[in-house]
């Protein structure tokens, strides 16, 4: 495309209302109905996960409420006590699958979000630090990042978990270890680009103190790529956790995430007891697709040129 003529913004400026940045983002975001639906869906998923203990028909981890004699009932079966219907069937412990999925969603999202947030904090701090300090600090950090990124996440996570053993906190730790590098690289890359921009130099010339330049000028302008990557990385973290749990080295069996629910149901699939891994699989899929599509849209909105 040729360069379109600059819209005479002098006129626009007169008619446009002053607009907060987020409002502009939202206006652009709205452009894709699919993305809006996905955002709503994500909201619903989040609410469901947060409220899981309140809205699930059964507490799937209260052993008193379970009865193996209710095990492996197909969807729609009424509980023998008569006080509930297993809409999505039960697993081998007699656990209501709907409740298990809601709680599993909660664990999956918890793992994904917490690991992503921690990884962003660690990675962005190190990345900005590297960009700002330069020299030896930078090369040490970036060498580490290169090293980390040249190995596939799943392998690193696998090894860490093989050493640390199962457990939610170990999974989160492993995910942070495998993810921080992405954020560090992004943060450094953006910070380097941004710090060469003239507004940063202008701030220096104006005698704005360093901490203020970093936090007031640099950080807000580096946040966009971090947010976009963070969104997609949450989806990746959830997938990775599910994969690790599927391989049997993720979360413990007493706190099953969606991945572990799928793994648990795997052996029953051929027997026609599809609901054990099908429904958790769908829940996982929908969550990840929703996050990815929202992330995609955010990327388009924040960075209209790079349509990757």
């Amino acid at each position: 495309m040729v360069n379109l003529p600059e819209t005479p913004s002098i006129h626009n400026a007169a008619t446009d209302r002053p607009e907060a940045a987020w409002r502009r983002v939202w206006r652009d975001y709205r452009g894709s109905p699919v993305a809006v639906v996905m955002l709503a869906l994500l909201g619903v998923i989040l609410v469901l996960a947060l409220l899981a203990p309140l809205i699930s028909p059964q507490n799937p981890y209260d052993l008193m409420q379970l009865d193996i004699m209710e095990g492996l009932l197909p969807p729609g079966t009424e509980a023998s006590s008569g006080d509930m219907i297993y809409h999505l069937g039960t697993d081998d412990q007699g656990r209501d699958m709907l409740s298990a999925i809601l709680h599993g969603l909660r664990i999956s999202l918890f793992v994904g979000v917490v690991s992503a947030v921690c990884a962003v904090l660690v990675g962005a701090t190190l990345g900005l630090f590297a960009a700002y300090r330069g020299g030896r600090t930078e090369s040490v950090i970036m060498r580490l990042v290169d090293l980390q990124l040249s190995f596939p996440t799943i392998l690193v996570a696998l090894m860490i978990l093989a050493f640390l053993g199962k457990g939610i906190s170990n999974v989160i730790l492993a995910l942070i270890i495998v993810e921080w590098a992405t954020y560090a690289r992004t943060a450094r890359g953006t910070a380097l680009v941004e710090s060469r921009r003239e507004y940063i130099e202008a701030a220096h010339c104006l005698g704005v103190p360093l901490y203020r330049i970093i936090f007031r000028h640099l950080l807000p302008n580096c946040m966009t790529p971090l947010i976009v990557i963070g969104t997609v990385q949450i989806a990746r973290a959830i997938t990775l956790e599910a994969t690790l749990s599927f391989l049997g080295i993720g979360v413990p069996v007493t706190e099953p995430s969606l991945g572990l629910l799928i793994a648990n149901g795997y052996q029953y699939m051929f027997a026609g007891q599809y609901w054990l891994s099908f429904f958790p699989g769908i829940a996982l899929l929908v969550t990840i697709v929703a996050i990815n599509l929202v992330g995609d849209r955010l990327r388009d909105v924040f960075n209209p040129k790079g349509q990757a």
Partner: protein, 620 residues
């Protein structure tokens, strides 16, 4: 709306009758629209003109005028889905717009060749590949023939050692050489018409002169027509027989270049020409001069207010730079060791007095920007002293540096990136005032409002974000921000270079106004000799990191001593139609690089005093 269109059409009706009976190219009622946010918006409206055989037509206009779109429409290079071209484009009577795609493709490169800015070569292929590809496409040569022809063409555009360089890639060539290659490709099929779309915009002025000269010569040899698209009135004057002026997608004026330049009919053309500084027109005054303002409605110009002498020669200089040297390491090799050094600034000294403007001029890589940035301590100089108000800034720590920075401020080139997109204009303006604890927030807001008005904006624009402003407005905001700290010196690093001609003139006027009001000094860094002549009291010419000549502006421009200064002035295209048919012998010399071996010791320089205050470096 209707009436205007009819009016336009009747006026254009005369045009073909005035020119030669069978023009080579006749553009009729060209209207081009783009889809923007789902709606068709016209960007080129009812444009008509002719180009006769052997003639050079300049299409001139500011950004957004549609001059490039015109070329793209003629060549049918706009994306068919998002653009629409109506009207007629007749090449020797044949309408290009209705040709089948394949036939049109044979016209391109063959009948009509096109050159762009010199960055348009595919980076992953050799330049030989490009030339040979075009030759084989249109002339059906085989590989061997095409290669031989390519070498001949490269010789023709005077590329030295073509045999070796034909297998090199674009990035291994300098900008000027790349542009020569594009010209060679354009000549490959002996086109009837050459469309040159801003071919020299990104080039240094001496290189620009070479390329313009080359085009002129080749045009004479080949007898082809040229359509020259440019925003530079000097280039128009140097190259074209006739001129078309575009404004907001419409043709506002057309005529022989000498007529258009000397007695423009239309208000816009007058306004445009009034904003163009002409080299040499200032020789009668030692002071800077404002640009005349033209009323767009009437076309009448008001004579510019004369400039008062602001320079305080009596007091000590506000800025004194002594023996400033800045070098950068070039790292390479296995262990990232230093392999060479860029001697960006080498032993540079000058003073600036209160209220004075000193300009640093030179071409790319001469070290003028690095000098400015070294003064601002955006880069750390290797040695030298930078005295501001008697204190050496070069040795200051962070805290003292911050305090000193109040006295020296900087305005940058790019109006888009010099403001933080996430801060309102108000926040951007008040921030320096607040962080230096110069007063309350309220005082900061008041001062910001006052300065916004001072730079010609509304005080209530403070709540807006930078993207809501045009480029010129943003540059005004940057200036206002620099003024928040009441600086004594402002370093203006190519601060008007990115602006359109008319906006540039306004901003320069503003700078002069501010100098008058605040007695501020400017270190004005620019590559544009004509602008420098307008704004400076004194001028320093830089070449390869060194000042080769420094002195009062009048002396430098009227009596240049150093051969480089002379070459520089000579190369500037001047808005003087008389220069159209001048041919100059300009050697195909490249700009030299200040990258030196590690063991390089700068030679000791001898200086000669030409007149009081006018010094020139000895050549030899």
């Amino acid at each position: 709306m209707m009436t205007i269109q009819t009016l336009d059409r009747t006026r254009q009706g005369e045009t073909p009758a005035q020119t030669a009976p069978a023009p080579l190219l006749a553009v009729r009622n060209l209207r081009t629209s783009f889809v923007q946010r789902g709606r068709w918006t016209s960007v080129l409206d009812d444009v008509s003109f002719d180009i006769a055989a052997g003639e050079t037509l300049a299409v001139v206009g500011e950004s957004g005028s549609g001059k490039s779109v015109t070329a793209m429409s003629i060549m049918r290079l706009l994306p068919p889905k998002t653009s629409r071209v109506e009207g007629q484009v007749l090449l020797q009577g044949q309408d290009l717009l209705t040709l089948p795609d394949d036939a049109m493709r044979r016209i391109r490169g063959n009948e009509i060749a096109m050159i762009f800015q010199e960055t348009s070569l595919n980076p992953v292929y050799t330049i030989g590949f490009h030339i040979i590809e075009t030759l084989r496409q249109h002339r059906g040569l085989n590989e061997t023939q095409a290669r031989a022809e390519a070498l001949r063409l490269m010789d023709r555009v005077r590329i030295p050692s073509a045999g070796r360089r034909i297998d090199e890639y674009a990035h291994q060539f300098s900008g000027g050489m790349r542009q020569r290659i594009m010209i060679a490709i354009a000549l490959a099929c002996q086109p009837k018409l050459l469309i040159a779309d801003e071919p020299t915009t990104a080039l240094d002025v001496t290189i620009q002169a070479q390329i313009l000269q080359l085009i002129k010569e080749l045009q004479a040899d080949e007898g082809m027509s040229v359509m020259f698209i440019t925003h530079d009135m000097g280039v128009v004057a140097e190259t074209s027989d006739r001129t078309v002026v575009l404004y907001h997608g419409r043709k506002v004026e057309e005529g022989p270049t000498s007529r258009v330049l000397l007695s423009p009919h239309e208000a816009y053309t007058r306004k445009l020409l009034a904003a163009v500084p002409r080299l040499g027109e200032m020789s009668d005054s030692p002071l800077p001069a404002r640009f005349a303002e033209v009323d767009m409605a009437t076309g009448n110009s008001t004579a510019p207010r004369p400039v008062v002498d602001t320079v305080d020669h009596a007091a000590a200089p506000v800025l004194s730079v002594q023996n400033l040297t800045t070098r950068f390491d070039v790292r390479g090799g296995t262990l990232g060791g230093v392999t060479a050094r860029v001697h960006a600034v080498e032993d540079v000294s000058f003073d600036i007095h209160a209220g004075e403007t000193l300009s640093l001029v030179g071409e790319s890589g001469c070290g003028k920007s690095t000098t400015g940035r070294s003064i601002m301590r955006l880069v750390n100089p290797v040695s030298g002293r930078i005295m501001v108000g008697g204190r050496d800034m070069a040795g200051l720590g962070h805290r003292d540096l911050r305090a000193m920075r109040r006295k020296v401020q900087m305005i940058f080139q790019d109006p888009v990136s010099s403001l933080n997109a996430r801060m309102t204009v108000g926040d951007a303006l008040t921030e320096p005032f607040v962080v230096h604890r110069l007063g309350s927030r309220r005082a900061a807001r008041d001062k910001a409002a006052a300065l916004l008005q001072k730079v010609g904006l509304d005080a209530d624009m403070a709540s807006r974000f930078p993207h809501e402003f045009s480029g010129g407005q943003r540059q005004r905001i940057s200036i206002a921000r620099a003024l928040m700290l009441d600086p004594q010196i402002i370093v203006a690093d190519e601060s008007v270079s990115a602006l359109d001609v008319s906006v540039k003139a306004q901003v320069i006027n503003l700078l002069l106004d501010l100098q008058e009001s605040f007695k501020v000094s400017y270190l004005f860094i620019s590559h544009d000799m004509a602008v420098v002549e307008r704004v400076s009291h004194r001028v320093a010419v830089m070449y390869l990191g060194e000042i080769v000549e420094i002195g009062p502006r009048q002396a430098i421009f009227d009596n240049p001593q150093h051969s480089y200064t002379r070459r520089l002035i000579e190369a500037v295209p001047v808005v003087d139609p008389a220069r159209r048919h001048q041919t100059r012998q300009i050697p195909a010399e490249e700009i030299r690089s200040p990258v030196r071996q590690l063991d390089y010791t700068p030679p000791t320089r001898q200086w000669r005093t030409v007149a009081p205050g006018h010094f020139v470096m000895d050549e030899g």
